[in-house]
Symmetry: C2
Subunit: 692 residues, 2 copies
């Protein structure tokens, strides 16, 4: 499953923010590229595929593309607001609206009427309306050239001002996006939907067929699809731009396009930045993920209800762990770095020989030095990965930031960001005391393991108690876990927050100064990286030619490729699978829990309702990454033919390295989804809405 790699880590693990950088077309491999919608690779498409997209083609596709702020992608597929995405993108919502008696994540769901559709507690969907280049205004605002932390503040102030102005003027969500590692800044304006309702989801057994074993593998047979619907004024939204639903399966060599929101890539990291990932960051994150994975596994063993409560978080963590494991393995192959070093050395040598560019070559050294500082910073974080703590800290920061002028605030607390923040902070999604207690205790234990028992902050947090005792006292005593109480705090006088004796708020106040101190350091490092990568971007463009595409930033991109099999272990993997294959795969793995197809499938097959030759999954060469989950795959005519849900195991290095030798994007076939709705889920009415 692709996107969760991004979503599950965005909460508290420090994000790799830096260094998104241009890749020149001269060095592009085959179908490499995640293109900006305002800078599509028209020549390349014309030349390679004799395809010349019209502006309308591109606009329609853009306006039918949807971003899930929980960390994935989707698309409008009907005039009455239906949104197609992955089951594993929707699973966050499925988890939150499930109860002990109603396990939607396991059992699936079908609303038989609008009335039965279930509102998601905290989803926000975004549709990209407009892009405006604001590079010049940002660059002019950053006048301090010597102090990185001061420069970072100036840059943030410019972001905040532009976003607020735009929001005031248009009413649209407005985000300034850093592209090409700081060489360009674009303002993205989004229409927002926050009334999003669940319409249909299959069982996990169908969506995640093959489980963790088959995750990131191919061939696959997964119905990793879910339908939601956006509402406005309590009615299904009327959508002008939605995708047609192709009635044809894809065929080998078909040209296809993916319009979605790749999360983050590090394609043009310097060798030293990749070494930092390999030697520090990825091993560190993997130790953390494995720790959480075991913790949640243990918790889930306690009872069926505990298993239900911990399900979605565990699966997100397992997914990230598997993705990062593949990413690290690629970096641990000495050839990977050796190849990159050759390219880098050539570039530096060429720049060194050019008197204009020569001074810029110190940027590589600067990046190398920053990596050392990042490594030292890695284990200092105090941003505990606990829902209760994160709520408390956010509420505290919100109250503090509200007292500053908008320009001076942290990015998440500006006027322009406020609505999205409040959606998140007042989510009605349930929190479970038992799980909160275990997770908070482990985070506190981790804090003391990383900072040491004699660290003054640790001493204050523990106050002579064990991490388990501290967590129990906080979870038992707090009311931050109730959404109504959070709303009261947010809407009340700030002194209620500053003086609160709620134990979670007290913990947040204890940690806040150190949180800010560390964030300042991180922002300073990030600023220095931006400046260095901007230089490297200039060198690269000068030496190697035109700009291609910037590294991914969880903003809308267009990728393209062809439906194509690949060689593996001496045989050839065919690009498409069908329903018959799913039943065969289940039979081959009889007795293994994750390979049991749901009853609905077995019954439909027995009753002869399924056309077993219908296409179910396919692979293509398009350049995607975590965050692209749920992206529509469209044909030359712009009609939906598939739904991205994964990359194969060979694609796990594509954070920093695209190849089309074996790496492939994996999709559910559009015809497969339609057949499942009609033949398996008795949802003919719903199927009839698709593409209309």
């Amino acid at each position: 499953m692709f996107c969760r790699l991004f979503a599950s880590l965005s909460l508290a693990i420090t994000v790799i923010t830096a260094s998104l950088l241009s890749s020149s077309t001269a060095r592009l491999h085959a179908d490499e590229g995640m293109y900006l919608f305002n800078d599509l690779p028209r020549e390349l498409l014309k030349e390679r595929y004799d395809f010349d997209p019209s502006q309308k083609w591109a606009d329609d596709l853009r306006l039918a593309s949807v971003r899930f702020n929980s960390g994935g992608s989707g698309s409008f597929v009907s005039s009455n607001g239906l949104v197609l995405t992955n089951h594993h993108v929707a699973s966050d919502t499925l988890q939150k609206v499930s109860t002990k008696e109603r396990n939607l994540i396991r059992d699936g769901f079908l609303a038989n009427s609008f009335d039965e559709e279930i509102k998601a507690p905290d989803l926000e969907l975004n549709v990209l309306i407009e892009i405006v280049d604001v590079t010049q205004r940002i660059d002019e605002a950053v006048t301090n050239k010597t102090d990185a932390e001061a420069a970072a503040k100036q840059r943030q102030a410019a972001f905040n001002a532009i976003e607020s102005e735009s929001f005031d003027k248009t009413g649209l969500r407005s985000d300034v996006v850093t592209l090409f590692g700081g060489a360009q800044y674009h303002l993205y304006r989004y229409k927002k939907y926050t009334d999003v309702r669940l319409v249909w989801a299959p069982e996990t057994a169908a969506a995640f067929f093959g489980g963790d074993a088959d995750n990131f593998e191919y061939p696959r047979y997964n119905l990793d699809a879910t339908l939601m619907r956006v509402y406005e004024n309590d009615k299904p939204a009327v959508i002008d731009h939605f995708l047609e639903w192709s009635s044809k399966p894809v065929a080998e060599n078909d040209l296809v396009f993916v319009s979605g929101h790749p999360g983050r890539t590090q394609r043009i990291f310097t060798v030293e930045a990749l070494e930092y990932l390999r030697d520090h960051r990825l091993p560190f994150v993997l130790d953390y993920l494995r720790r959480k994975e075991i913790l949640l596994q243990q918790y889930r063993l306690e009872s069926e209800e505990a298993a239900r409560r911990g399900r979605d978080e565990l699966f997100g963590i397992q997914n990230a762990r598997k993705a990062y494991t593949g990413m690290l393995a690629g970096l641990q192959d000495p050839q990977t770095i050796a190849d990159r070093r050759r390219v880098q050395d050539r570039l530096i040598a060429a720049a060194g020989a050019n008197p204009d560019l020569n001074p810029l070559t110190q940027a590589w050294q600067e990046i190398a030095e920053i990596q050392q500082e990042k490594a030292a910073q890695l284990s200092r974080s105090v941003s505990l990965r606990s829902d209760v703590f994160q709520y408390a800290l956010s509420i505290l920061l919100l109250a503090q930031e509200d007292q500053k002028p908008n320009a001076d605030r942290l990015a998440e607390y500006t006027d322009a960001s406020r609505d999205s923040l409040l959606t998140r902070l007042t989510s009605e999604a349930p929190l479970y005391d038992d799980l909160q207690r275990i997770e908070l205790a482990d985070e506190i234990a981790l804090l003391l393991e990383r900072r040491g028992m004699s660290d003054p902050l640790v001493v204050e947090v523990l106050a002579g108690r064990s991490p388990q005792q501290v967590a129990a006292e906080i979870i038992d005593g707090t009311s931050v876990d109730e959404f109504a109480k959070r709303r009261e705090l947010i809407e009340g006088e700030p002194d209620l927050i500053f003086g609160s004796d709620d134990p979670a708020m007290r913990l947040a106040r204890l940690m806040e100064p150190e949180y800010r101190r560390l964030r300042l350091i991180d922002d300073g490092l990030s600023e220095r990286e931006k400046q260095a990568y901007a230089k490297i971007a200039r060198v690269t463009t000068e030496i190697e030619g035109t700009t291609g595409y910037p590294d991914a930033t969880f903003t809308l991109r267009l990728a393209f490729g062809t439906v194509k099999g690949y060689p593996e272990n001496g045989s050839f993997v065919k690009p498409t699978t069908d329903f018959a294959g799913a039943f065969e795969h289940a039979a081959e793995h009889q007795g293994q829990e994750d390979f049991e197809l749901p009853e609905s499938w077995m019954r439909a097959k027995q009753e002869g309702k399924i056309d077993l030759s219908t296409q179910l999954n396919f692979v293509c060469t398009a350049d995607i990454i975590g965050g692209n989950s749920g992206s529509p795959v469209v044909d030359r005519g712009g009609a939906l033919v598939g739904l991205i849900f994964d990359g194969n195991i060979q694609s796990l290095t594509s954070d920093y390295l695209y190849t089309d030798q074996q790496a492939r994007a994996v999709s559910v076939s559009g015809v497969g989804i339609r057949q499942a709705l009609e033949a398996i889920y008795n949802a003919k009415d719903l199927a009839d809405q698709l593409g209309k």
Copy 2:
């Protein structure tokens, strides 16, 4: 499950060898103590329980007690060689004699005749015949007072000489054991059994009922028992000293004794040594265990056969992970260290005021300094935890050590150790290429993560290849994974080994110099710790009175206590459970895989064969630890009433801290085992042999 904590880590994680130290009776809690059989707490037993064991009582119990060199305990329970131990002690053997077609570890086993009993491929059982004090001879041999590494060599040479002499003279396995952290050295002489056959084992579903969730919990309902039989000259051995089998269940407050082999305790670690465990060693080991746990889980998802192959190793790792997690949590409670520091400070102050003892107080500082060095050493190990690698390294070291005089050899390679070593090296237990490849690749990846990609040894090992490639080439190319080939190498000319181009042997040769270099450092640190703890032992004895018991050393000890419930979360946990409770527990957890009782139990219940009121498990206050698994529990008359298999969760801190507030040892009841054999497993003939 208790013992595996010890067994599963003994292979390649550096063992906590140091610092086994006396606890004076003045500071003993209630039933604390793991007593030497040549220094039983007669006065204490007399005083507290009015019990005065005769020499015959003690000798009979000692001679009926059995050590499993795979890491557990057991006892003779019949004149014809039956040995009772835990299923989880025997599971190592059950795993090794299973095949794809015959999954004994899952399905259980019953031999209906001697002929059907299955020989274990590499088990060695030891019975303690004699203890001789050799302290003076060891102390006199260590003349170098300034160079710790040289002193360690002298001490090892004395060990080797004493062991060889004893072996030559008696033919018995002879081990010098370091007690009281180096204050005493005893020579232990064992009778050895290497023809050990499997007689009966229940299904894992009965033995490990409740799975990882219930592991280390109480109440329990586990039939964690297995019967094996020792043979001599291909006939069941005739055993003079075996335990009677009591026909009575235990009752609250009964005095009971545990005779077994606790693995390792750190009861009198200094505060700084405990801090080293808390801040360095335990977090380090837990990261490692979680990594292996996830790796094996992933492997086992591949197929039913993979699940079978990886089962025992995974369960051992999970067990250790859970045990260490509890141990670390105890140390992370600031009260634990604060209490210990008060005691330590008092002791140092008292010694400081005594002119004789004052110079010895620098030992605490010495221990503190050694911990720093150990922390730095922690991640340098090159002893990859891979069966193939360990075989190759051992074969290489054996060939090298054989060329030295016996006195100069490493401990495992002396004349006295040779038989046990060969049993292990020529084991016919199968190795599976797919699993070996995955594990070796991960160990090599870990090596480069710990030592860095530019470490010269890492560069040599990789030679431009990825860890996966290196592992694949080694496992595909080696014949060290075949026991016949290992035997050939061991019995052939050493030049076959030194010049072998087998890729596993080449890897071993590459690592060997660094392995020796690190071992020398470890041995030097260990020697310095011994000398310092010997001083601390003297101080403690002088200040606080007589010697109690030395820390555990995986040698035979006697513990005692009473059958006793305990308070938990406001209610009271009763000390015994019965078969009825097992069926209720299963019903409460319906739908959870690990809580399904096997068919044999359900059938026997349906047929009314089981007396549901029969005692199944019980707890007592005896002081046990990992390694005690499989220990017999006997009554005042020396008759078997139970079989230790676990400690409860509150006992996980007992490595360094005994309490009887809540901590309990958990046993299978003798009457429960007998009933299961008769009513569930149709093994009346076998049951009739017990105690006769």
